[in-house]
């Protein structure tokens, strides 16, 4: 392929060094956390989840005040009323306004879910962190114990504990519920944290940092913690719906929160009686709420996981 233009001899002089740039970098480098956030934003499903969570959280406190009824107000003249202009979600068998009760229940479900996840997190991080940092011997003993604890069927234990500490016919206290739920579920978090700590203990970061003079403390802060934060965040986010599910199941078999307090699961259980007599709304509405809350946390957790996965970088 011969060029058709005229070439001046001058062009054949040596090019100056400054004109060439052997190390030219064309794209801006990307920082870690802002990039994670950017990728999360691109995930529409996860964003929907986030918005739902924010909405539900706000409404959990605001929603009970909106239409003026109290969650425990009973009105025997207005039992089992289908949703209408006054009682937007209808009333239950004791005449209580379901709209208010549902938001009240959301408050408790969210609280239990988040509390359980938080406690799992704290115990898990503590236990796992210690196991990771300590000697091999202590570590393997700790892991053995954790294994046995974890292999005990979770929900069975929860049910048993609830059974023991409550009176028949009533529900469990909040404290008992949360205690029962976190008894065995902290183990995956502990294993995760321990794995990360071990990995980073030996890894290049520590080595490299120490070689340029970083102290162990600084290494912990600047390297180990940011790298562990990601998977931990995913785990915590995903353990919330697990806890909410557990609580809902418990309520459904009568071990949930004490009346007149309520959670979404308890409301669903109450509403079950309405099913055969044509009051399906009594169970369907809390059921939808539970599903939405769990859905929201699940997609958000998924979103975090995808956003943090380096292989999915676009």
């Amino acid at each position: 392929m011969k060029a058709e233009y005229n070439l001046s001899p001058d062009l054949f002089n040596v090019a100056s060094r400054e004109d060439r740039n052997a190390e030219k970098i064309h794209r801006p480098s990307i920082k870690y956390w802002p990039d994670v956030w950017r990728r999360l934003k691109m995930n529409h499903l996860a964003m929907t989840g986030l918005i739902l969570i924010i909405f539900f959280s706000i409404m959990a406190f605001v929603g009970t005040e909106i239409n003026g009824f109290k969650y425990f107000e009973q009105n025997y003249d207005l039992i089992n009323v289908h949703p209408n202009g006054v009682h937007w979600f209808g009333t239950d068998e004791l005449g209580r306004d379901l709209f208010t009760r549902v938001w009240y229940g959301t408050r408790y479900s969210l609280f239990i879910g988040i509390m359980a996840a938080l406690i799992d997190f704290l115990i898990g991080v503590l236990y796992g962190g210690i196991a990771g940092i300590t000697t091999r011997r202590v570590d393997s003993v700790m892991m053995r114990i954790a294994e046995v604890i974890y292999s005990i069927p979770y929900l069975l234990v929860v049910i048993l504990i609830s059974v023991v500490f409550t009176q028949a016919g009533q529900g469990s206290s909040l404290f008992i519920l949360i205690f029962a739920m976190t008894l065995t579920s902290w183990v995956p978090m502990a294993i995760l944290v321990r794995g990360q700590v071990l990995q980073l203990k030996e890894s290049e970061y520590a080595l490299a940092s120490e070689s340029i003079g970083g102290t162990k403390n600084w290494i912990l802060r600047k390297h180990i913690i940011p790298n562990t934060l990601g998977p931990i965040l995913v785990n915590v986010t995903l353990s919330i719906p697990r806890a909410i599910f557990a609580e809902a199941t418990l309520s459904f078999i009568g071990l949930g929160i004490q009346a007149p307090k309520s959670s979404l699961g308890a409301l669903a259980n109450d509403g079950l009686a309405g099913l055969p007599v044509g009051n399906a709304y009594q169970i369907l509405i809390p059921a939808i709420f539970i599903s939405l809350v769990m859905f929201a946390f699940n997609v958000l957790g998924d979103g975090f996981r995808d956003a943090l996965d380096p292989r999915l970088r676009k």
Partner: protein, 309 residues
């Protein structure tokens, strides 16, 4: 490998023992006495009952007696039922639960991997989105809600599907499907991510370079490898099925073990609670062990018995 197997069996036994012990401790730490909750009864009757259930002996002795009984397969007498022993109730209820459990498992194993594979093969196109939405719903909507929805919208409108009860095959259809949703969803999601990873592997490229059809590549090379992680979560799946069954049985009014369990909780019938709990634990632990063994058998990279070279 044999060493690993022995270790697993040992762990299983230890776990069951732990459950028995914990159950025992819990049941006997209930504040007050099980009989006190009943209406006042004559002292003589009370003492007789104490004797009958061995509650007058020291706690540690009761423990070993109980342990002994369990090992022999005797779960004792129910406190509330005058006619049946715990063993009889378990024998009555378990087959029913078993049928639903197996049906649900089959549904999950048929549709789960298929859904996941379809999603992976059509990544980011509509079959993927659809499958994954179904899967997310499956893990977000608790089974009792699924059951309720089925009853409300399907059973009421389709004559052949009953709202509840037990007796014929059609009684098991809705409950199994409601129960199967969660495991199916979990399997589908895992299958999808597993397939995606496998499809990026070098050996898939090798397979394609041989000029075999896409279907063969997918089935013989991709799926075969992608299904391995799915086998390993079957343990969790089994566990979920078990727990989900109580709730489903309650909604559909099915006389299975779950129903007895819930009933016993409501009645505070302690021997029954203990018996069913321990029974469940044994089933679960055995299933987990079987899944482990199955995995070892399926993956050619792990061999149970070392072959000579």
């Amino acid at each position: 490998m044999k060493k690993y197997l022995l270790k697993r069996i040992l762990m299983a036994v230890v776990t069951i023992w732990a459950v028995i012990t914990i159950t025992f401790i819990l049941m006997h730490s209930v504040p007050g006495n099980p009989f006190r909750t009943e209406s006042k009864m004559p002292k003589v009757v009370y003492e007789n009952l104490q004797k009958k259930y061995g509650l007058d002996k020291p706690l540690s002795e009761q423990y070993f007696i109980y342990l002994g009984k369990i090992v022999r397969g005797d779960f004792g007498d129910s406190m509330k039922s005058r006619v049946e022993t715990v063993n009889q109730m378990i024998t009555r209820g378990f087959p029913v639960s078993g049928v639903i459990g197996i049906e649900a498992l089959l549904i999950a194993l048929c549709f789960g991997p298929a859904l996941g594979a379809v999603a992976a093969l059509n990544q980011n196109r509509w079959p993927d989105y659809l499958s994954m939405i179904i899967a997310i719903l499956g893990i977000s909507v608790p089974s009792f809600i699924m059951g309720t929805v089925f009853i409300q919208f399907l059973a009421r409108n389709i004559g052949w599907l009953p709202i509840g009860g037990w007796g014929e095959f059609r009684h098991s259809v809705l409950p199994s499907f409601a129960l199967a949703f969660l495991p199916m969803a979990q399997i589908a999601r895992l299958m999808r991510s597993s397939m995606l990873e496998v499809l990026n592997q070098d050996y898939i490229k090798t397979a394609k370079s041989k000029g075999i059809t896409k279907a063969t590549v997918v089935l013989k090379h991709a799926v075969r490898n992608a299904i391995l992680p799915v086998v390993s979560i079957l343990g969790t799946v089994a566990s979920n099925l078990l727990v989900g069954s109580f709730v489903i049985e309650k909604i559909f009014g099915i006389p299975g073990l779950g129903m007895f369990f819930i009933m016993s909780i409501g009645n505070r019938d302690y021997p029954l609670i203990m018996g069913t709990t321990i029974f469940y634990a044994i089933i679960l632990v055995s299933l987990l062990l079987m899944v482990d063994i199955a995995y070892m058998l399926i993956d050619p990279r792990i061999k149970l018995v070392k072959e000579g070279r």
